[in-house]
Subunit: 388 residues, 2 copies
């Protein structure tokens, strides 16, 4: 019954079997025990955890140990600016913001403008520059505080990453990169090197503030190959292994296709008009029956419904109400039309507010977040004198 | 009769057959015709050209065309700071300084601290930092003017190179890097990427001053593989191909061995004491006969003599006097002992003066040369907006 799927940092296709992915990637499931510890430590559970939308991890238990014993850890996540952002791209940032508040700590957001330039044969530098600014505005519209948030735009802030990158790169052979990322002899040498750049923020916190004793990376699970190599190198350069908490990907509106910039109908863009949202959701794949009569009789299958996923990922804060919706669908009480209308309404309200917040974010405002303006370079580089 | 030799950017062993190297590398010989043009254009001939110590090239004729038609070209050369510098390392810089004066242009000196860190398993960052400063002092002791000389220390100035580097790296596959540099699956991904960093100064001039219409790289011929790839990429990113003029390597004091940091007896270090110089030259390989009697009878072979090479490369300004020494050796009039004594004297005088000049070069003085202090980064990065 399960379809073919593929999950790499650059491509996700097919219907992802998340349980299988845990075994394939060699990560650990987020157990009920860990969820309980999370609630105990922080006194609350973000919906992304209670619903296991962030569902797998590497060393998340170690992070909880550290937090419990009063040690400081920082957060790191990122975004590849290869196009405008859709709602699925925003999801890990929503969770990251909650984590940042709970941990009361600093966050490093890497914008991998170099990677996107290197990867896409047909995307030019000017487009990357524009998407970088636009994406940063979308991210900052979520309300990150410049006082504890650093934006690292690789193409403009490489000087903050390169010291660590060479220390990582020195310990990664082409064989390893090939095995982990599936590179071939036709891969360009920039892509081959790039993992060193993505690894760098996993360690940068220690060179900015020596209070840190750990780094936690909340990100979509497709990025796991990067962390796998980074963790191996951490030991070799005598720095803490970064821990990860892995998110699921918001499913595409069409069955079995990840939201993708190349297929705009599969996703709700943050710039989509109310009409576009209406049309896309109306045409989305659901778990419902072909007719209202059959729906009333047999009920729908919310577990296979994209519309339900949207509620679950982003558009229903209350776990209780989500459960009610789930039951109402299964019992046939709720029809796909009603459900879609409600979702369209919520998405459009969210997008309207989002765009209002985004409009206020000027180029000058972004400057306050850039690591270039927050960390004195000369002093910073001196910190790396002893890095192996 | 010819021995095995090997010339790569990281290793030169055996007695180099420079004529064969021209064919192997696919470069052009510096013809008498080009030498005449050089004299005609500049009104003088540096000894490195008249003696064909810089003896091969790529597009040097194109550079002469441009100079003749009044177009501005800039210079680029470099140094890998993996240890203290010896006299052979200084040789291309001596020539570069003459070229800079004749062309009245700007020079970019790249210090490949990243490469040396990536290449040498056992050299740590702190050592690289120290060698970087020490090597820069040796180079600047030759008298480069800070007003038209930029030093780019990769580990501290990567932000000035990375924009170009990603544009280069995007067009170089692992296959190409493997074929040109002999990389294997065990090569680290930093070394694989590094050619993009060494390529960058070949183009940086155009983004600093739009008056430039060409770049000339005077360097030892072992660096040619870098330029071969860089020139291919130039076409793809619509920038002028950098031209090269290739120097021979000052032979090691022991037969058939390049001066090497790992074998200190093969070279005269810039820090060598007068006694050390005396001992090394006294023990150097010559083209002389085993006894004075045989020398008087058959004469020596200056073409196979390291001591004569030292005069030819660095310690005899006058072409006439060099020719006299050559003839006197061949005729048996001059003995190895006399020749060595004279060389020891000249080297020690040079080193004494060099170290006096070097002592005056403080860390503050170096700052005036660093690209970091000469070029405003934010404005500079903006120049790359349209780079493909």
């Amino acid at each position: 019954m399960s379809e073919e799927y593929k999950v790499t940092p650059w491509e996700v296709t097919g219907e992802v079997d998340y349980e299988k992915l845990i075994r394939e990637f060699g990560v650990s499931p987020l157990t009920d025990d860990l969820v309980s510890r999370f609630r105990k430590i922080f006194g609350e559970l973000p919906s992304e955890i209670s619903r296991k939308l962030f569902y797998a991890h590497r060393d998340f238990d170690v992070i909880l140990d550290k937090v419990e014993s009063g040690k400081k850890i920082y957060l790191y996540t990122g975004r590849g600016p290869s196009g405008p952002m859709h709602i699925g791209h925003l999801f890990p940032f929503v969770f990251t913001k909650k984590l940042q508040t709970m941990l009361n700590t600093e966050l490093f957001i890497q914008i991998t403008s170099d990677e996107k330039f290197l990867y896409h044969r047909n995307i030019g530098r000017e487009e990357i520059f524009e998407y970088t600014i636009d994406n940063i505005k979308d991210i900052l519209a979520l309300g990150f505080d410049y006082k504890n948030t650093y934006i690292i735009d690789d193409l403009r802030a490489i000087q903050y990453l390169y010291q660590i990158a060479v220390s990582v790169a020195k310990r990664v052979t082409f064989s390893t990169a090939k095995a982990v990322f599936g590179f071939t002899h036709d891969t360009n040498i920039g892509m081959i090197f790039f993992m060193s750049i993505q690894a760098a923020p996993s360690f940068i916190g220690y060179f900015i503030n020596d209070k840190y004793e750990g780094c936690l990376i909340p990100a979509a699970i497709d990025q796991d190959p990067y962390w796998r190599v980074t963790r191996d190198i951490a030991t070799k350069i005598k720095l803490p292994k970064p821990a990860q908490i892995h998110g699921k990907l918001l499913p595409g509106l069409k069955k079995g296709i990840k939201m993708s910039a190349s297929i705009p109908e599969t996703s709700i863009y943050l710039s989509d008009s109310p009409e576009a949202v209406k049309k896309k959701i109306w045409e989305a794949y659901t778990g419902g029956q072909p007719t209202i009569e059959l729906q009333r009789k047999y009920g729908g299958d919310p577990d296979k419904c994209v519309v339900f996923s949207y509620f679950k990922f982003l558009f229903e804060d209350s776990d209780d109400k989500l459960r009610e919706r789930y039951e109402a669908c299964k019992s046939g009480e709720l029809t796909c039309g009603e459900c879609k209308r409600e979702l369209i309404d919520r998405i459009n309200k969210f997008l309207e507010e989002h765009r209002r917040r985004k409009e206020k974010i000027t180029d000058e405002y972004i400057e306050k977040y850039l690591i270039n303006n927050k960390v004195d370079l000369e002093n910073h580089i001196r910190q790396y004198k002893l890095l192996r």
